[in-house]
């Protein structure tokens, strides 16, 4: 028979390992449910079905597309191949401007229409979020 101490240690190790496995599992599960994918209008256009999850869309704000009223700002995001209508009620970042890069976060109504709850700022004039740069093909 093993001594009491060895037994205790064995139990401890088993409990510890189970805890680690369990934690990893939970963390990964929560991670999977809570990530926000980044897409360009063209990628959305190619999708066979629209997902119910939150997404980020990046591209250029189309020229002359911004329409404002008291509660909403509507505009079009384009990657010069496909376009996406965005409706948004919230604060716009300082550098939100027509013909400038933009990232909108929200839910898709259909392939052409995004209800955004956040518009992301880019931090300076020379700088464009890498995602936007990429989706515009540099």
């Amino acid at each position: 028979m093993y001594s009491k101490k060895v037994k205790l240690r064995f139990v401890f190790i088993v409990v510890f390992l189970t805890l680690i496995v369990l934690t990893t599992f939970i963390v990964l599960k929560v991670l999977k449910d809570n990530v926000v994918y980044f897409k360009s209008p063209s990628e959305i256009n190619l999708q066979s079905e629209i997902s119910e999850k939150k997404i980020r869309v990046g591209g250029m704000v189309k020229k002359d597309s911004v329409i404002m009223n008291n509660n909403k700002i509507n505009f079009i995001i384009t990657d010069f191949k496909n376009e996406l209508y965005v409706t948004f009620s919230g604060t716009v970042p300082n550098l939100f401007e027509e013909e400038k890069g933009v990232v909108a976060e929200g839910f898709l109504n259909d392939k052409k229409f995004l209800v955004a709850d956040k518009i992301l700022a880019k931090h300076d004039e020379n700088y464009m979020p890498p995602e936007v740069k990429k989706s515009l093909g540099d």
Partner: protein
């Protein structure tokens, strides 16, 4: 021009001194002298002096707007106010690394002065390990990020500093944060040295505790300043966004906090030796990971000054070398230096510290995974994702409940063995906690069991810590930090549930309501400053008692570089901040106005200061003991 040259050569001299110190110390280890020679101390002083000269030359170049210097040209402008010319020195990649180097050499000098009564071998080994880091950063600065590069032909005007960095809080945020961040380097060097010189014991713990506290206090302060800045400058009224750049400062903070609790156990009981050393290494590695992520341009943020892959690769390689080195040393000296005599009983302070460490490590892993996973996915699968607050809330909030409960009980446990008895007083505390929690949850109107549990936990911690103030032997450091921490959590929770906001696009003269408050957009005015033009919106708020509050948010349009920022206008009171920002979109007639109620904001800042105060108490107390 000549000053810039001086700075450059001074840096090279600094690197040469490094090599001298390295060999000088290696030779001395073999000698039998009782103390380290003045030569070594002198060299370390000189090294700091050289970097200091370098740093001053860079500040000077910024002050006189010396546009023959590439760094100055890229980040400064003659019309910039004096204060931002100075802070602009570290508001860029090259300058901030020079600051890093300054702190790195400075802490070694500080260590050498403070460790006079410690074993010679340990001090020399610490110096050697530290020089490895120093050399690594010297080479990094000189090769990839030299702040003294010249440009030809000499330009007459610079490109200017990013306007959102032109802010008082952000001016001092980098130096404070760096003292914390880079302070961990000396902990790392000392940990390796203590292992090699068989010095992982009570005395070591007592002495190294100073540096742990030092880093911890400054890191807390740096994070605080960053959050305050984000609160009023980014214009969202939030102070923590779970942005990767924030996370990389939170990770070393978490592991420093774990280490702080561990080192006390080592000091009092000579326990958890291995674990303490591992934490020392992890802490510094996390600081380096932060530097790597921020400086490589992988993360997209205001801290990412330049996109240069070679810099990232260098730091990553260097980090791996350091980790490998510490791993090898750990394996070799494992059996020699970790003789553990005492046993751990289940009901003791030691166990409480261990539980604290497990929880902190869990929080740390969550933050680490949330930060690293998107980068990993981007590199491996070329998929862009972001991990937002829901991820952290779901994984961290539920575990905060048991964490704070252990945190409440832990301090009243005794070293070695505790006998439990539940007296009437502890019952009273529990009853009070429950009553207060139910009232709070009823008040904010959330019918969620987790929220209730969180409030119970946080309020229990607060009351328990306050209760400790009645004890005969008080540990002010611990009590204050714990009170601060519980206040912080309570304020954050109340703030997130009671915040209210309304966003409208309006024109001058229009008004809108938030609950019973009327917000009237009176007029706008345009003012011209030296380096920007500002559009000021005049708002009048009529609160429920018909009292008027005036708020004047601004939009600043800077000329160099051509960029707009929003300056929030905030009216702070003890229980509520009123927060307003305005924005414009080019060629549109509307102002995009955001008005917010941010309850208990000031308590978020105050409680963090109380946490820091706890750290100061610990340093102060330690000094007193030395005097006796």
């Amino acid at each position: 021009m000549i000053i810039s040259q001086l700075g450059h050569y001074s840096l090279i001299f600094g690197l040469l001194t490094s090599i001298l110190i390295f060999f000088n110390s290696s030779i001395q280890i073999k000698k039998n002298d009782a103390i380290i020679s003045d030569k070594t101390t002198g060299l370390i002083g000189f090294q700091f002096f050289f970097v200091f000269i370098s740093f001053i030359s860079l500040i000077y170049s910024f002050l006189i707007s010396d546009f023959s210097n590439e760094t100055v040209y890229n980040n400064s402008h003659t019309t910039k106010p004096l204060f931002y010319k100075i802070t602009g020195t570290w508001g860029n990649h090259e300058g901030s690394l020079l600051l890093w180097l300054l702190v790195l050499t400075g802490v070694l000098l500080g260590f050498i002065f403070k460790s006079k009564n410690e074993p010679k071998k340990y001090r020399l080994l610490t110096t050697i390990f530290h020089q490895i880091i120093v050399i690594g950063f010297f080479v990094f600065v000189l090769k990839t990020s030299n702040p003294f590069n010249e440009i030809f032909p000499v330009q007459t005007e610079g490109l200017g500093l990013n306007p959102i960095l032109q802010d008082p809080a952000l001016g001092i945020h980098p130096p404070i944060l760096y003292l914390g961040y880079v302070g961990t380097s000396i902990i790392f060097s000392a940990a390796l040295a203590s292992m090699m010189s068989n010095y992982v014991n009570k005395i070591w713990a007592k002495n190294i505790k100073f540096w742990i506290l030092f880093s911890w206090i400054f890191l807390t302060g740096g994070i605080l300043l960053g959050s305050i800045w984000a609160y009023y400058e980014l214009g969202w009224g939030g102070f923590w966004f779970w942005d990767p750049v924030e996370n990389v400062s939170l990770m070393p903070w978490l592991s420093l906090t774990a280490l702080l609790h561990c080192i006390v156990t080592l000091e009092k009981r000579e326990l958890l030796k291995k674990w303490t050393i591992v934490l020392c290494i992890i802490t510094f590695a996390l600081s380096m990971v932060g530097t790597f992520l921020v400086r490589s341009g992988i993360l997209n943020s205001v801290h990412t000054f330049a996109n240069d892959p070679s810099r990232g690769i260098y730091i990553l390689t260097f980090l791996l070398v350091l980790i490998l080195l510490s791993f090898v040393i750990f394996i070799i000296f494992e059996n020699k230096s970790f003789t553990q005599k005492s046993e751990i009983f289940i009901f003791s302070k030691e166990t409480a510290v261990l539980i604290n460490n497990w929880f902190i490590l869990y929080f740390l892993s969550v933050v680490l995974i949330g930060t690293i996973y998107p980068i990993f996915l981007d590199v491996i699968l070329d998929e862009q994702i972001s991990v937002g607050p829901p991820f952290y809330n779901k994984l961290i909030l539920p575990f905060l409940v048991p964490f704070v409960i252990f945190m409440s009980i832990g301090p009243s446990m005794k070293w070695i063995k505790t006998n439990f008895r539940i007296g009437i007083k502890s019952l009273l505390v529990i009853i009070f906690t429950l009553i207060l929690s139910f009232i709070t949850v009823y008040y904010i109107g959330e019918k969620n069991i987790l929220i209730l549990l969180l409030f119970i936990g946080f309020i229990y911690l607060l009351l328990k810590s306050l209760d400790q103030l009645r004890q005969k032997t008080k540990n002010f450091a611990q009590i204050f930090s714990h009170i601060g921490f519980s206040l912080l959590l309570i304020s954050i929770l109340l703030n997130s549930f009671l915040s209210k906001e309304i966003i409208k696009n309006i024109q001058v003269g229009e008004s809108f309501f938030l609950k019973n408050e009327k917000i009237i957009f009176k007029k706008i005015a345009i003012e011209k400053e030296k380096n920007y033009e500002s559009i000021i919106g005049f708002f009048e708020i009529l609160d429920e008692k018909n009292k008027t509050i005036n708020l004047q948010p601004e939009i600043r349009i800077y000329n160099e570089p051509d960029m707009a920022t929003s300056e929030a206008s905030i009216k702070t009171s003890l229980f509520k901040d009123r927060f307003i920002t305005i924005n414009i979109i080019k060629d549109q007639n509307f102002f995009n106005v955001r008005y917010q109620h941010k309850p208990f904001m000031i308590w978020v800042w105050i409680s963090t200061l109380i946490i820091m105060l706890g750290g100061l108490f610990a340093i102060f107390r330690k000094n007193k003991e030395v005097n006796i």
